[in-house]
């Protein structure tokens, strides 16, 4: 299939996502909305499989079958009361997928000369790794708190703010280093960025109490959309950009609505751990 045809089909699938989300936000049409959005996903996947770039289907077939099996069993088996935990796990799964896509995209266009990567590509790769990693580890912590594998109370470490700030500065530093010297990046630095992103996710969610977890999961859902969007910018794929940023924006709005419904402000939830540290000292 030609690139133009694939692009045209991507538009159809984007329409299905947009319409599906719209229908999902009203009780009478929600089931159909979900089905439409699933159809959009199926269309996007099928047309991508028809792309000329794809020369080997073995890995895709195996990984997709296994993933579909795990996802379906998990979705079937989970108890109704355990739904938010399950959503957190699925969300984390999407986050790490975006991280891996960003990571693998390092190899794109670098066949002969690694320095052919533009600064734009490098920055978007770093963003998808960073946001994807935060989504993954944050979602796992959120899941742990809801399932009470981790104490669900707000856990604050001494100097938490400073640690988080340092982690953030370190990741930005790594990013700058990689943009400055694209040819020297292959090994160590990318591992550092992955590790930093995972740590950041833990540090972001661990100081938030278990009662606020649904809001946090909604926020992390928004992040996973942004991670997909960054991955799309890195590998130049419009449907990833459109669907990712749709989820990113809709997720933020939904988070805000959920906060209002729970009589809390978004900033209060996000920084509750920080203020707790302050009052304790």
């Amino acid at each position: 299939m030609s690139v133009e045809l694939i692009g045209a089909v991507y538009i159809v699938s984007a329409i299905l996502f947009i319409y599906g989300l719209k229908l999902l936000s009203s009780p009478a049409t929600a089931v159909r909305g979900n089905q439409l959005s699933a159809l959009g996903m199926l269309v996007a996947i099928v047309v991508t499989l028809g792309s000329r770039e794809i020369i080997d289907f073995r890995w895709i077939g195996g990984a997709a079958t296994l993933g579909a099996l795990v996802g379906a069993i998990a979705a079937r088996r989970v108890a109704m009361t355990g739904m938010p935990e399950m959503v957190a796990l699925f969300n984390g799964s999407g986050g790490i997928a975006s991280l891996l896509v960003g990571w693998a995209a390092l190899d794109m266009g670098s066949g002969e000369d690694p320095s052919t990567q533009t600064a734009f590509t490098i920055v978007t790769i770093l963003l998808s790794i960073l946001i994807g990693g935060v989504t993954f580890s944050g979602s796992i912590v959120a899941w742990g708190k809801l399932a009470e594998t981790i104490p669900s109370r707000a856990i604050t470490l001494p100097g938490q703010q400073i640690i988080t700030l340092l982690l953030l500065i370190a990741s930005i530093g790594c990013g700058i280093a990689m943009v400055m010297q694209p040819e020297a990046w292959n090994a160590t630095l990318i591992y550092v960025v992955v590790a930093l992103s995972l740590l950041l996710g833990v540090m972001a969610v661990i100081p938030i109490g278990g009662a606020d977890m649904p809001v946090v999961i909604s926020l992390l859902n928004s992040y996973s959309g942004l991670a997909a969007c960054a991955a799309g910018l890195a590998i130049n794929n419009t449907i990833l950009i459109v669907a990712g940023s749709l989820v990113g924006a809709a997720g933020i709005i939904l988070t805000n609505i959920m906060c209002k419904a729970m009589n809390r402000s978004l900033s209060h939830v996000l920084f509750s751990g920080f203020t707790a540290t302050k009052s304790a000292t």
């Binding site: 999902l24 020369i55 890995w59 895709i60 993933g67 896509v101 995209a105 990833l240 669907a243």
Partner: protein, 98 residues
């Protein structure tokens, strides 16, 4: 030019996302979150192009792992959302009858 074009797509999609979600009844918060989460599994498309493309071996491995995780998100996400919405239906029906 390509970058500018991608920027436009990004900006319009974000505004659309903001506009799409306005008044959502509280019962639909979790299903909507879950449904949106399934859409974020769109990264599977990117993963497919990397796992099946002419890439270095390590990148193919990462791509395959990404396909696995993204498929878990997509399949699980849509199925869980469907189950949640189905639960509302069975709950609402008796109320209508009585």
């Amino acid at each position: 030019m390509e970058t500018v074009f991608l920027g436009f797509v990004l900006m319009l999609s974000i505004f659309l996302g903001f506009e799409l979600i306005s008044k959502v009844p509280a019962t639909l918060h979790t299903p909507l979150m879950s449904g949106a989460n399934a859409i974020s599994g769109i990264t599977v498309v990117g993963a497919i192009t990397l796992a099946g493309g002419p890439m270095a071996e390590w990148a193919t491995w990462l791509g395959a792992a990404a396909v696995f995780f993204a498929t878990v998100n997509v399949v699980g996400g849509y199925m869980v959302t469907d189950r949640m919405l189905g639960m509302f239906k069975t709950k609402e029906k008796p109320e209508v009858r009585s």
